[in-house]
C-alpha cells in the first residue's frame, strides 16, 4: 500500500470514505454547500499529503481528523451554530430496504438527529464516529487527540446524555 501510486491510493481511499466523511461533516454543519466545501478540502489535504510523499498509515483517522478540524474552524469563523431539521437538508437520501416503515423510520431518525445536535460538540463527535461511522476506539482517540480510556468514558457519557434528552 505504501508503495502505491498516489493517484491509485487516493482513488481507493476516496471511494472507501467519501460517504462517511460527507455525512460526518453534514451532520455537524447542517449546510449542503459548507459540507461540500469541507469534504472537498478534507480530501484535497489528504491528496496533498500523498503528493508530497507523506506516508498516511491510517487514512480513515487522518480524514476524520482533518474534517473535524475544518468543522471547528468553520464554527470559529461563524460564532454561532445552526440546526437544520433532517427533512430540510438536501443532498442526503435515506437508504432502507424496509419501505413499509420508511416514513416512520425517517421521523424517528429526524427526531434523533435533532437531539444529537443539542449535545455538546465533543459528545456529538464521539457518538457519530463510534455508532454511526463505526470507527474503532483507538482511531477515535487519534482523531480527537485523547486517550482510549478517555474516549470510552466520553462514549458512555454522551450516550447517557442523549438518552436523557429523548
Amino acid at each position: 500500500m505504501e508503495n502505491q501510486n498516489p493517484h491509485q491510493k487516493f482513488e481507493e481511499v476516496y471511494h472507501a470514505h467519501v460517504k462517511a466523511i460527507f455525512r460526518f461533516v453534514y451532520f455537524k454543519v447542517s449546510d449542503y454547500e459548507t459540507a461540500l466545501d469541507i469534504t472537498q478540502e478534507t480530501f484535497l489535504k489528504f491528496w496533498k499529503a500523498l503528493y508530497k510523499g507523506q506516508v498516511v498509515k491510517n487514512p480513515k483517522a487522518f480524514l476524520f481528523f482533518i474534517a473535524r478540524g475544518l468543522v471547528v474552524d468553520y464554527y470559529r469563523r461563524r460564532d454561532h451554530r445552526t440546526h437544520v431539521p433532517l427533512e430540510q437538508i438536501e443532498g442526503l437520501i435515506f437508504t432502507t430496504d424496509d419501505l413499509d416503515n420508511k416514513l416512520d423510520k425517517e421521523r424517528q431518525i429526524s427526531q434523533l438527529f435533532a437531539k444529537l445536535h443539542e449535545l455538546r460538540e465533543d459528545y456529538q463527535d464521539i457518538l457519530i464516529l463510534y455508532y454511526i461511522e463505526e470507527v474503532e476506539v483507538p482511531d477515535i482517540a487519534e482523531i480527537v487527540q485523547k486517550t482510549e480510556n478517555a474516549v470510552r468514558v466520553l462514549i458512555h457519557r454522551a450516550l447517557k446524555e442523549l438518552k436523557g434528552k429523548l
Binding site: 455525512r23 484535497l44 491528496w47 508530497k52 506516508v55 442526503l92 431518525i109 442523549l162 438518552k163
Partner: protein, 216 residues
C-alpha cells in the same frame, strides 16, 4: 428506551447517504482541485528527504555528493588540486601548437613545484606523483620545440626563453628535492624523491645540450 435501542437508532443514521448528484459534484470538485500548485522550496526539500528515505540507491548517490562537498570544504589541499590538475591538463591538450603546449606544461610544472614547496609531509606522496607526471610531460613538450622557431607560431628567441625558464625550473626543482630528502624519513617517499631527482638530472642534461646549440 434502553441503551441498545438507542444505539440501534443511532446506527440508522448511517442509512443517510449522499445522493448520486452530491457524489458527482464532490468528485468533480476534488478532481479539479487535484491540479496541485507548484510546491514551495520547503515542500520540495521535505519531499526529497522522504524519497531518499525510501530509495537507498538515490540516498547513496546523494550521500556521495554530500561527502564530496564536505571533502572539498575540509580537504581543500587534496580535492581542489586534483580538479585544477584536470583542468590544466585539458588546457594543454587543447593548445593550438607545440610552443603553447610547452608553455602551459611548464606553467603546470611550476604550479606543482610551488605546491610541493608549500606542502609539509601531508599528502607528500600524492604531490610527488603529480609533480613527476607534470615534469615528464613538460620535458616532452619542451624537447619537441624547434630551436629555430616555427613560422607564424614562435620565434627562436621565444624558444630560447622557454628553454632558459625550463632550465631555471629544473634547477629549483633539484634543490627542493634535495632539501626534502634530508627531512623525510619514510623509505617509500625517499625512493620517490630519489627517482624524481634522477629524472630531473636527466632533464637538465637535455636542456644543457639544447642551450649549447644556441649561438652566444
Amino acid at each position: 428506551m434502553n441503551d441498545n435501542e438507542l444505539i440501534e437508532k443511532l446506527k440508522q443514521l448511517k442509512k443517510l447517504e449522499p445522493s448520486q448528484k452530491t457524489l458527482a459534484v464532490l468528485e468533480s470538485r476534488i478532481k479539479a482541485g487535484q491540479a496541485m500548485p507548484a510546491p514551495s522550496l520547503k515542500e520540495k526539500l521535505g519531499t526529497l528527504v522522504r524519497r531518499l528515505q525510501t530509495r537507498p540507491v538515490l540516498a547513496a548517490g546523494a550521500l556521495a555528493v554530500c561527502l564530496l562537498v564536505v571533502a572539498t570544504v575540509t580537504e581543500r589541499n587534496l580535492v581542489l588540486p586534483q580538479a585544477q590538475l584536470l583542468w590544466d591538463r585539458t588546457e594543454i591538450a587543447l593548445a593550438p601548437n607545440r610552443f603553447e603546449k610547452a608553455k602551459l606544461a611548464l606553467e603546470l610544472s611550476q604550479k606543482q613545484l610551488y605546491a610541493l614547496q608549500s606542502t609539509k609531509n601531508q599528502n607528500l606522496a600524492l604531490q610527488l606523483t603529480y609533480l613527476s607526471q607534470a615534469a615528464s610531460q613538460t620535458d616532452g613538450y619542451v624537447r619537441a620545440l624547434n630551436l629555430k622557431g616555427e613560422p607564424g607560431k614562435y620565434t627562436m628567441a621565444q624558444c630560447l626563453a622557454v628553454y632558459r625558464t625550463y632550465g631555471n625550473y629544473l634547477d629549483t626543482l633539484k634543490g627542493t628535492i634535495q632539501n626534502r630528502l634530508s627531512s623525510v624519513s619514510d623509505q617509500r617517499t625517499q625512493a620517490q624523491l630519489q627517482s624524481l631527482l634522477s629524472k630531473t638530472s636527466q632533464y637538465e642534461q637535455g636542456v644543457d645540450s639544447k642551450l649549447r646549440q644556441y649561438p652566444d
